[in-house]
C-alpha cells in the first residue's frame, strides 16, 4: 500500500527549505522572518522523517522530536524578543534591531 519514493520526500523538503530561505532574506517584518525560520525547521524535520522512513527506523522520528523541542524553545524566546523590540521602538523592522546594545 505504501509506495512513496524517499527522494520525492527529500525534494519537497528542499522546496520548502528554499521557500523559507527566500522568506528570511526578503521580508523585513520580524514576525515573517520568524515564520520563515519555522518553515525551514519544518523542512529539515520532513527530511529527517523521510530518511527514517527510507531505513524503516525510528531514528528519523526521534530527530523530529528534537527539532520540535528546538522550534518550541526558539519561538518562545524569539517572540519574546520581538515583542520587547516592538515595545521599545514601535516597529517590527529587522533593520531597526541592528544595534544590540542594552
Amino acid at each position: 500500500m505504501n509506495s512513496v519514493s524517499p527522494e520525492s520526500g527529500l525534494v519537497v523538503a528542499a522546496v520548502l527549505f528554499a521557500l523559507g530561505l527566500g522568506g528570511v532574506l526578503a521580508r523585513r517584518n520580524m514576525l515573517f522572518v520568524l515564520m520563515s525560520i519555522e518553515i525551514m525547521l519544518n523542512a529539515a524535520a520532513l527530511a529527517m522523517i523521510t530518511a527514517g522512513a527510507r531505513h524503516h527506523a525510528a531514528d528519523g522520528q526521534v530527530m523530529f522530536m528534537f527539532i520540535l523541542a528546538t522550534a518550541a524553545a526558539e519561538v518562545a524566546v524569539g517572540l519574546a524578543i520581538v515583542l520587547l523590540i516592538y515595545r521599545r521602538r514601535r516597529t517590527l523592522d529587522v533593520d531597526e534591531a541592528r544595534e544590540m546594545r542594552g
Binding site: 521557500l19 527566500g22 528519523g60 523541542a69
Partner: protein, 173 residues
C-alpha cells in the same frame, strides 16, 4: 498512500509559498498552519503516524498559537498592511529568489545524482512504541538535553517578558 503524499506535498508547497508572500500576518499564519497540517499528512503517508500527530499537536496547535498571541498583542491591522506593502516591493524579491533558486537547484541536483544510493526501500509504518523505545533508549541523553533546552527557553521567555523590571530600567536612564 501515494495519493495522500503527493496531494499533501502540493498543498504544503502552495501554502508555504503563500506564507512568505502575504502582507497580513494573520493570513500568513493561517496558511502556515495549513502547510504544517499538510506536512503532517506527508508524515502519515511516510509511515510515521506519531510524528504526524505530534506535528499537529505541538507545531500547529501550540507553537503557532504563540504566533497568534503575538499577532493579537501587536494588533497591527490595516496600518501594518500598509507598512508591509511599502517594504515588500516586487524588486525586493529579486535577490532572495535568485539565491533560494540556486540553493534549490543545487539540492535537487545532489538528490538526483545520488538517487541510486537513496532509491529503493518503500516506507513501512514505524509505530509509536518503536519511537518511544528509541527516544528513551539510545537517545536518552538527547531527550534530556532537549528538556534542558526547553527549560532554558521557558526561563528566557519569562525573563524577557517581565514588564515591570524593564520599565524600571528605562526609568533609570
Amino acid at each position: 498512500m501515494q495519493g495522500l503524499f503527493y496531494v499533501s506535498a502540493a498543498v504544503a508547497v502552495l501554502a508555504t509559498a503563500l506564507v512568505v508572500t502575504r502582507r497580513n500576518a494573520a493570513h500568513a499564519l493561517l496558511y502556515l498552519v495549513l502547510s504544517l497540517a499538510a506536512v503532517a499528512g506527508m508524515f502519515y503517508a511516510l509511515g510515521a503516524p506519531l510524528a504526524a500527530a505530534l506535528e499537529v499537536i505541538v507545531y500547529a496547535g501550540a507553537i503557532m498559537v504563540l504566533f497568534v498571541f503575538a499577532v493579537m498583542v501587536l494588533a497591527l491591522g490595516r496600518e501594518g498592511e500598509r507598512q508591509e506593502s511599502q517594504w515588500l516591493r516586487p524588486r525586493m524579491w529579486l535577490g532572495p529568489a535568485a539565491l533560494a533558486a540556486v540553493l534549490l537547484g543545487e539540492l535537487i541536483y545532489v538528490l538526483a545524482s545520488g538517487a541510486a544510493a537513496v532509491a529503493g526501500g518503500t516506507p513501512v509504518v514505524v509505530g509509536p512504541q518503536e519511537v518511544g523505545a528509541a527516544l528513551f533508549g539510545p537517545y536518552a541523553l538527547g531527550a534530556e538535553l532537549s528538556s534542558m533546552l526547553l527549560l532554558a527557553g521557558m526561563v528566557a521567555a519569562y525573563h524577557l517578558a517581565r514588564r515591570k523590571q524593564m520599565d524600571e530600567k528605562e526609568g533609570e536612564r
